[in-house]
């Protein structure tokens, strides 16, 4: 039986990924989630940070491999590991989890069995400025016992929450101020190594 897990994502990790998706509206994008299992409660996975990865050629291995090596190296020294994968589809109405996402998810599961995939929910994102919805604009996918990726249902089982309840309000603000322009991903870094995929100044 798959344990029922709660995935708690920090505001910064959450916003960074959504802004990245908004920066590259016409292509698919992906990202990596860093975190750890809560030491006091092993049914909670805390997602402390995220790294936006690519907005082009997501299906090609070399850049992914390099990115994962560097990301693991950097966050490993802080006691954090790769705990999930984020994906946003190219088309607005495509709510399916594609092959590339599943493959990368499977790969991450080899090292962290409770890894989850987070798929951007475009409809929820669009509705954001209009409502007071505090739930994340992402869908949570978990691997079941037969290693298939299944959408985590609202009827119980694993779920995703944002640690800071006002995160969506902050996100809406950033969207109106077009903050997404400041997000740097690994693709940008490979094109110009001066650009920092850690985005240290993003939320200052």
């Amino acid at each position: 039986m798959v344990a029922e897990l709660k995935y708690e994502i920090s505001q910064n990790a959450y916003i960074k990924l959504v802004l990245h998706a908004l920066k590259h509206k016409t292509t698919a994008v992906n990202g990596i989630l860093l975190g750890r299992v809560n030491p006091q409660n092993d049914s909670v996975v805390e997602i402390a940070d995220s790294v936006p990865l690519f907005h082009s050629n997501l299906a090609l291995l070399p850049s992914v491999e390099i990115a994962l090596i560097m990301i693991e190296e950097h966050y490993g020294s802080k006691g954090l590991g790769i705990v999930g994968y984020f994906h946003a589809n190219e088309r607005f109405d495509d709510a399916e989890l594609g092959i590339v996402a599943k493959n990368i998810g499977d790969h991450i599961c080899r090292y962290f069995p409770q890894a989850a995939i987070f798929l951007l929910d475009n409809k929820k994102l669009e509705a954001l400025p209009m409502g007071k919805d505090q739930s994340p604009v992402m869908q949570l996918y978990i691997r079941d016992a037969s290693k298939n990726w299944k959408l985590a249902g609202p009827d119980g089982g694993s779920r995703l929450v944002i640690k800071e309840p006002a995160a969506n309000a902050v996100l809406s603000d950033y969207i109106s101020s077009e903050k997404w322009q400041d997000v740097v991903d690994f693709d940008d870094h490979l094109d110009d190594i001066k650009k920092d995929w850690l985005n240290p100044e993003l939320f200052k």
């Binding site: 698919a28 050629n57 997501l58 299906a59 090609l60 291995l61 070399p62 850049s63 491999e65 390099i66 090596i69 560097m70 190296e73 950097h74 190219e90 088309r91 109405d93 495509d94 594609g98 092959i99 590339v100 493959n103 870094h189 490979l190 094109d191 190594i193 001066k194 920092d196």
Partner: protein, 160 residues
């Protein structure tokens, strides 16, 4: 258009038909390659890039992406060819293309892993990898010093 509507197989069909007539439309080849990649049909994507390389042999992007596709396909032969194309990318771009330099390192390491225990006739120039590594380290030192440590350990983990 079919792609925008989500009808991928129709899009592929149309692009293929179109390219039979308009073989020189490189945007179309790239579009088709992108679709194949999103479906992980790497062999077909490689074919598209081969066509692109035939008609535009001096565009470094095509060399680079072709190398990436070959690396992703895997297998000793593909890796060796990929390495050649990373090298030609570096040639065409004056030696500083980060992706191609990293590609050389990845290829060399993957080839070494695959040829372990095989005959030494495949003893390639380890100099190419160390040269690439040196250029990368110099670049990072000059322009991204805070990431130099990460680069160095990444390279170390690739050197078997």
């Amino acid at each position: 258009m079919a792609k925008a509507q989500g009808n991928i197989s129709v899009a592929i069909e149309w692009l293929n038909k179109y390219l039979e007539i308009f073989m020189a439309d490189h945007d179309a080849w790239r579009e088709l390659a992108d679709i194949y990649l999103s479906l992980q049909m790497y062999k077909q994507a490689a074919f598209c890039y081969e066509e692109l390389l035939l008609s535009h042999p001096t565009v470094p992007l095509y060399h680079l992406t072709y190398a990436d596709v070959l690396y992703t396909l895997g297998g000793l032969e593909n890796l060796q060819t990929a390495k050649k194309y990373y090298a030609s990318t570096i040639d065409l771009t004056g030696g500083k293309n980060t992706r191609a330099l990293l590609g050389i390192c990845l290829c060399t390491s993957a080839i070494a892993r695959l040829s372990k225990g095989r005959s030494k006739e495949d003893k390639e120039s380890p100099e190419l990898q160390s040269l690439a590594a040196k250029v990368l380290e110099k670049e990072y030192k000059q322009r991204a010093a805070d990431k130099l440590g990460l680069l160095t350990s990444a390279l170390r983990s690739l050197k078997i």
